[in-house]
């Protein structure tokens, strides 16, 4: 599948062959899918899909380690919190390209929006497995408004932002399907969607942290602070930037055949720019964390087990990456930027897990604490795998990395 090129042959393949089977006959297409990567995928799905069915049929009790004391596990802490934070690239790049006019970064917009859209979509899909009555997912929109809840804000903003990102991504779909008029309408809507998306992102990224504002007595003081909204927003910016670096590196390697005039130097230049932004954001975030620590006067907690863990997060995954990225940029070391971007992204994952699981319920004894059930882990891996599959399916068919030859490129 990876080797296939997107091309329309002269013999005239049918619409289905052209759009779905990458211009191949079904037989060829099937054969092209016999790859090691796909074998691994099949293995994951063979375990994961029965787990999903088991969760739906038998409920949360047998399929998770959730309890009355630990109502939230990795489906919230990882799938939702990390998924949304790492999908912030769409709004960060959208702001840079469409509002600040950084034309150099224009080619990153579509992949970033696609990553963002899928990140949100699959975070919501994972969330539905966590909800006790998942079939009531639209209730906060249509049945009853709990306006005093931070989660109400999150629900609405995530839903609206998903729509925004869909609108931003639509031109690629219409190009794929050769729908010129629709494409024109949606391209006009991009600016509005971007601005609306910035507002929504600022609020729901910080709101995901503000969820924990109601739990001063359960979250460890090193992580609980009135600055949580600010921390979550800033770290989401870091997550978005770092993921854009990682994603552009990966897709320009895996899908390089799609990019006709691929200029590695241009990608390197842009990566250095993104690395610089990540470094600045990391420094800003580091100082916000220090101010929060000082404001809460929580210094004495640093010399405890949780304190050392906190330092691992804040020094090891925020301060050191910030310094390393700065060094890499000044010495034009692109590979180093990419490596430390991965560390920064892992730091965001660690931070979200700390907030939701590791430093949460810290007052409880160890036997009352939460450790994920293997099915929770498998379901998470399955949802991520399906997300990656969807990403690949779209990348192979739609003009995400390259400009569609039949259309005038989007102006940024």
């Amino acid at each position: 599948m990876m080797d296939a090129t997107v091309s329309t042959t002269a013999s005239g393949p049918t619409w289905i062959q052209d759009k779905l089977f990458l211009g191949m006959t079904f037989k060829d297409y099937r054969r092209s899918n016999y790859t090691i990567f796909n074998a691994v995928v099949v293995l994951i799905l063979a375990v994961g899909i029965p787990v999903i069915i088991y969760r739906l049929a038998y409920g949360l009790g047998p399929s998770t380690n959730l309890s009355d004391n630990n109502p939230w596990g990795i489906w919230i802490g990882f799938d939702m919190l990390c998924g949304v934070a790492l999908a912030a690239g769409g709004f960060v790049i959208g702001t840079a390209v469409h509002l600040m006019g950084m034309k150099e970064y224009g080619f990153l917009f579509r992949p970033a929006v696609l990553t963002g859209f899928l990140g949100y979509l699959f975070a919501i899909i994972a969330l539905t497995f966590d909800l006790g009555r998942y079939y009531r997912l639209p209730y906060p929109m249509v049945v009853s408004w709990g306006v005093s809840s931070v989660l109400f804000l999150v629900a609405w903003h995530v839903a609206l932002y998903l729509t925004c990102q869909f609108v931003e991504w639509c031109p690629a779909i219409w190009e794929w399907l050769n729908l010129t008029r629709l494409r024109r309408i949606f391209i006009k809507a991009t600016l509005g969607a971007t601005i609306f998306g910035v507002c929504l992102s600022m609020l729901h990224q910080s709101a995901l942290g503000s969820i924990f504002l109601l739990m001063p007595e359960k979250l460890h003081p090193l992580w609980y602070s009135e600055y949580i909204p600010l921390w979550f927003f800033m770290s989401a910016v870091i997550g978005g930037l770092a993921m854009t670096i990682i994603e552009s590196m990966a897709s320009h390697r895996i899908f390089s055949h799609q990019v006709k005039n691929h200029d590695p130097d241009h990608l390197d230049r842009v990566t250095l720019g993104l690395g610089k932004a990540t470094s600045v954001a990391l420094f800003a975030y580091f100082f916000m964390k220090v101010i929060g620590l000082a404001h809460g006067n929580n210094w004495h907690y640093l010399d405890t087990g949780y304190g050392y863990w906190y330092l691992v997060e804040v020094i090891g995954f925020v301060f050191i990456p910030a310094m390393a990225l700065m060094y890499a940029i000044q010495n034009n070391r692109v590979r180093m930027v990419r490596g430390w971007a991965i560390v920064a992204a892992l730091g965001i994952v660690l931070n979200r897990l700390n907030h939701s699981i590791i430093a949460f319920n810290w007052h409880l004894s160890w036997q009352d604490r939460y450790v994920p059930h293997w099915m929770e882990v498998v379901l998470t891996i399955t949802v991520v795998t399906i997300g990656v599959l969807t990403f690949r399916w779209i990348m192979n068919r739609m003009p995400i990395l390259y400009d569609h030859p039949d259309f005038e490129p989007e102006k940024h």
Binding site: L56, A57, Y58, G59, L60, G61, P62, T64, L66, S67, D68, N69, P71, W72, T95, H98, L99, M100, G101, D130, L131, G132, R133, Y134, R136, L137, Y139, P140, V143, S144, W145, G146, V147, S148, S149, V150, L151, F152, L153, V154, A155, L191, T194, I195, F196, V198, C199, M202, L203, S206, A207, S210, I211, L213, L214, M215, P216, E217, E226, P229
Partner: protein, 312 residues
């Protein structure tokens, strides 16, 4: 005395119902702007009186028709449950725990645990479909027909009260003490647990009166209680309150909760929503118009340069 109390209660209940009917529709009252219900009921639990018979647990299950009910006698006999510290559970709205008494080892302290029915409940402010309502009579009630099952209420409860029916695959509910809302909303009704208690550990009445009673008890019995009515100020005040002979952290209560209501914690953030939607689009449009202008100037420069070249 008894007759007096009954009329007193009747008057109270009458006032409660009048408040329920006359006051703005409680369902539409926002948690963020709770007017406060001055006539709400409460219960004062005197932990120095409780004998640990667990009849209240039995009566609670009986009235709420909870699963795994056993005969009353087994509750009184079974001492093994005290070996572990228990919490509320999907099939148990209230539990009695035993604590060692540092003052007199032969007399352990028994503490009943159930929903505290906060003045401004964290669960209600956490719920994104408003399934929780602070009723004018004091009860915090839960409407399962709205619940999506996100379990934020469980995380947001400072007393770790709401439990979840994890083993119910299709229609799981959050479960917690209802303050016997269906009983106390009726004239003269008292919660099932209060009604069955053989030693009058619990006193049901108007919350304001109970606070007076609690302080009077402390004043009149020097040395019997610590000078603290748990629930009077904790997280903004709760309908259920406790008296104790020993500091409350020794009998399973958290004494680090502070007196700020839980909903207050997220209010500053929620008030940011409208400013963001006003300020950010304006900033964005500003940025965008700068960008447009820059592009136009650059284009003009190119055009001029080309003209100059051609002119030569």
């Amino acid at each position: 005395m008894d007759a007096d109390r009954r009329t007193f209660l009747r008057v109270l209940t009458g006032a409660g119902i009048a408040a329920a009917l006359g006051a703005p529709d409680p369902a539409s009252a926002d948690v963020a702007s709770l007017p406060g219900y001055p006539n709400q009921f409460g219960v004062l639990v005197d932990t120095t009186v409780c004998i640990g018979c667990r009849r209240c647990e039995w009566a609670c299950k009986e009235w709420n028709k909870l699963p795994n009910q056993r005969p009353l006698k087994e509750y009184e006999k079974d001492q093994n449950v005290f070996l572990q510290r228990r919490r509320t559970h999907a099939d148990t709205f209230t539990v009695v725990n035993r604590f060692e008494n540092p003052l007199d080892r032969s007399k352990p302290i028994y503490v009943k645990k159930q929903c505290m029915h906060c003045y401004e409940p964290g669960c209600a402010s956490s719920c994104f479909v408003k399934a929780f309502t602070k009723q004018p009579v004091g009860a915090v009630t839960y409407d399962a027909s709205l619940c999506v099952g996100c379990r934020y209420c469980m995380a947001a409860c400072p007393f770790d009260i709401p439990a979840y029916e994890y083993d119910n695959a299709f229609t799981p509910q959050v479960t917690k003490c209802t303050f016997c809302f269906d009983r106390i909303a009726k004239e003269g009704g008292v919660p099932a647990c209060v009604g069955i208690c053989p030693v009058e550990t619990m006193t049901f009445g108007r919350r304001t009166d109970l606070i007076d009673l609690a302080h009077k008890k402390i004043r009149d019995n020097p040395g019997r209680y610590v000078n603290h009515v748990y629930g009077e100020r904790e997280v903004g005040g709760t309908s259920w309150m406790y008296l104790s002979a020993v500091p409350f952290n020794m009998i399973g209560f958290r004494t680090d909760l502070g007196s700020v209501p839980i909903p207050t914690m997220s209010k500053p953030f929620l008030s940011l929503v409208s400013p963001v939607f006003i300020v950010i689009p304006a900033l964005c449009m500003g940025l965008y118009s700068f960008k447009k202008r820059r592009d136009r100037l650059a284009e003009e420069d190119v055009k001029k340069a080309l003209e100059r070249k051609e002119g030569k």
